[in-house]
């Protein structure tokens, strides 16, 4: 386990924390927070996979081409991988729409039951 692995490990810790909240919490709002944490953990992992250790003595560069085609080669050598960043944008938007839907459902459930406690809303049995 090198020092570089630490961020990955922390991401998985976040993933587990989100899962724990979803499984163990009785309050709908806490479950929703768990979903969001889980989502962030996945996004974070995706961004981390795009990181490339730069050559010694240089800082990693954002993949933005400012100097025209002439600099493209140089940028490609030093910049971090842009694809995961593009993916993460998509994934964040998806996460947003899921969050909107889940909050809407929770509000409707609250109107029906007058509570956020999942133990008290058990019409359906597994």
């Amino acid at each position: 386990m090198t020092l570089q692995m630490v961020p990955y490990m922390l991401t998985f810790l976040l993933l587990v924390a989100g899962l724990y909240a979803i499984v163990a919490k009785r309050n709908l709002v806490k479950v929703i927070v768990g979903i969001l944490i889980l989502d962030y953990a996945a996004n974070l992992l995706l961004v981390l996979t795009g990181y490339r250790t730069p050559p010694a003595g240089q800082a990693p560069v954002a993949p933005i081409l400012t100097g025209g085609a002439a600099q493209a080669q140089e940028l490609a050598a030093t910049a971090v991988d842009p694809i995961p960043q593009a993916l993460v944008l998509t994934s964040i938007v998806i996460g947003l729409s899921v969050a909107a839907l889940v909050v809407a459902l929770a509000v409707r459930l609250y109107e029906k039951y007058g509570t956020f406690d999942t133990e008290l809303m058990r019409n359906l049995k597994g």
């Binding site: 889980l38 995706l46 019409n123």
Partner: protein, 545 residues
């Protein structure tokens, strides 16, 4: 081919406008029905037109930056199944949804779900599968909760939470795969894994995440908890879509793709699929017997029947890796695909019939029904056909597919590995269990003395009857897929894609531009001619049964 995704997507956004014009009247259904009919025509044409995989690059961008849609044999088969079921479900919806408010929203969500499913089965890279999964998923979460009563909302919430966990796991899997291989394209990932000499530890971790994610989506047994709530709570045509095609398009199809095309039929993953499939098959069937709610029983039955399909695929993967002859492995894959088609048709039929019954009587409780056979002759006949097909009574389609799966498993048990005796025996036993619970359905719903609720029941409107009749006829028609001429045209291309493993997944993608590590030029040069030869090679197709 991109039209298959674009049409329902555009239709989904047009729908609110159309609904504005038509109001809550039934004519709101005209647009989605027309679109679905167009999709069906397109899908059938695609299935019959050519045998080679077609690759479409979205926006004209090719390999390193482009997004590809790939229609090979397996995708085409799935697209046709999706189109058939959605057209029928839409026809059924016209009268069924008249009781709900805002049909415009319903059709919007329906079309978005359709676009998502077509996208999943057509996309050529992992991340787009995730995106389309979410499109289909979010639409289906909303559709499950469409009734907005407490039951529906609760089921919708449960479905959403588990569905999101599944998607997140899939995303984690995608991140890991990208990190190891540097590719997102199915074919390229498969190539990279094969080039590295088989899956390594990080790839197995990714595979575990994928298995959990897609296992949740496909409702395999340890991950099945959401399905018996979500499917019965949705409006009947949506239950038909969810059970009939969504769990297959977003779960089973992608699992098959992953295990065969990406992980090249890895034996370890095959065993996992065998275990999961067997568990689902047996436990789903046993739990179905005890259900008192009509649609809940059908939902458990879905778990059981999808178990058969996954078991067949898993067995094929194991035996392919152990070097069993193509004919036997191909038989298992063919049985799995065939059962997938049969289950799509007959389970949709059964869910639509349950919708008709609920429409006419207002209840789904089996003990409050009875004697409907006399009151609703058409629905009753369709229900019987569906139940007989799925429980495997000859000459209906379900009999042949189960027979083929069981024969393939038995052959593998005798010639391959002793462990296959267990799933073989359980598959036979589950077939009997299936017959038992569908006998129960027929006895409680159709036969016996009419109960009070039933006496007031009348036959459902024409559109609903027509939809169920079409599917009942299809239950007979799918049996024709065992006829070699038809099978070779429809299912065999799909079987070949599965059997070809990572090799066939690459078919038609002769681009050798690499993104991250530059390829050794010799290998790239060697790749291209090898693929062209294989595509023209007719003997490979002749080997499969």
């Amino acid at each position: 081919m991109p039209l298959l995704v674009a049409i329902p997507l555009a239709g989904g956004f047009l729908m609110p406008l159309v609904a504005r014009l038509t109001g809550a009247r039934r004519s709101a259904a005209a647009l989605p029905i027309l679109l679905a009919a167009g999709l069906l025509a397109l899908a059938v044409w695609l299935l019959l037109a050519a045998r080679e995989p077609i690759v479409y690059w979205v926006g004209g961008w090719t390999f390193p930056v482009g997004i590809s849609l790939v229609a090979d044999g397996l995708s085409r088969l799935m697209v046709v199944v999706v189109a058939v079921i959605s057209l029928v479900a839409l026809v059924f919806s016209v009268d069924y949804m008249a009781r709900f408010t805002s049909p415009g929203l319903y059709y919007t969500l329906f079309l978005l779900m359709l676009a998502g499913m077509n996208g999943v089965v057509l996309s050529g890279d992992l991340f787009n599968i995730f995106v389309f999964l979410e499109v289909a998923g979010i639409a289906s979460y909303a559709l499950v909760a469409f009734g907005t009563e407490s039951d529906e909302l609760e089921a919708g919430f449960k479905y959403l939470v588990l569905g999101t966990i599944a998607s997140t796991f899939i995303l984690v899997g995608i991140a890991l795969v990208y990190n190891v291989t540097g590719h997102l394209n199915w074919a390229k990932v498969g190539e990279a894994i094969t080039a590295a000499g088989g899956p390594t530890l990080p790839i197995y971790v990714a595979a575990a995440f994928f298995l959990m994610g897609f296992g949740l989506k496909a409702a395999m047994v340890p991950f099945h908890a959401w399905l018996p709530d979500a499917h019965p709570s949705a409006p009947a045509p949506i239950s038909a879509m969810l059970s009939g095609v969504l769990i297959k398009a977003s779960g089973v199809y992608v699992l098959a793709r992953l295990v065969f095309s990406v992980f090249d039929g890895d034996a370890g993953l095959g065993w996992v699929l065998v275990v999961l499939g067997t568990l689902s098959m047996v436990l789903g069937g046993l739990m179905a017997i005890g259900q008192g709610d009509f649609k809940r029983l059908l939902a458990y039955s879905s778990i059981s029947q999808v178990g058969y399909v996954v078991l067949a695929f898993g067995a094929a993967a194991v035996m392919r890796a152990r070097g069993m002859e193509q004919a036997a492995v191909g038989l298992a894959v063919f049985g799995g695909l065939f059962h997938l088609v049969n289950h799509a048709v007959s389970k949709s039929l059964l869910f639509l019939c349950s919708g008709s019954v609920e429409y006419a009587t207002g209840t789904r409780q089996l003990d409050r029904l009875g004697g409907l056979g006399g009151r609703m002759p058409v629905t009753a006949a369709c229900l019987r056909v569906g139940a007989l097909s799925i429980s495997g009574v000859p000459p209906l389609g379900g009999f042949w597919s189960k027979l083929i799966i069981i024969i393939a498993l038995a052959y593998m048990a005798v010639r391959g590995h002793w462990a296959f005796y267990i799933p073989t025996a359980l598959a036979v036993a589950t077939a009997a269990v299936t017959l038992v619970y569908y006998a129960k359905v027929q006895r409680f719903v159709l036969d016996g003395e009419p109960s009070e609720t039933v006496l007031r029941a009348r036959e459902v409107p024409f559109g609903m009857r027509a939809a169920t009749l079409v599917l009942a006829v299809l239950c007979f028609a799918t049996a024709l897929l065992v006829v070699p001429a038809i099978r070779d045209r429809v299912v065999t291309p799909a079987t070949e894609i599965v059997l070809g493993g990572a090799e066939a997944g690459r078919g038609g993608r002769t681009i050798t531009v690499e993104r991250k590590p530059a390829p050794p030029p010799a290998q790239a040069a060697a790749d291209a001619p090898a693929q062209t030869i294989r595509l023209q090679d007719g003997t490979r197709q002749g080997e499969t049964p």
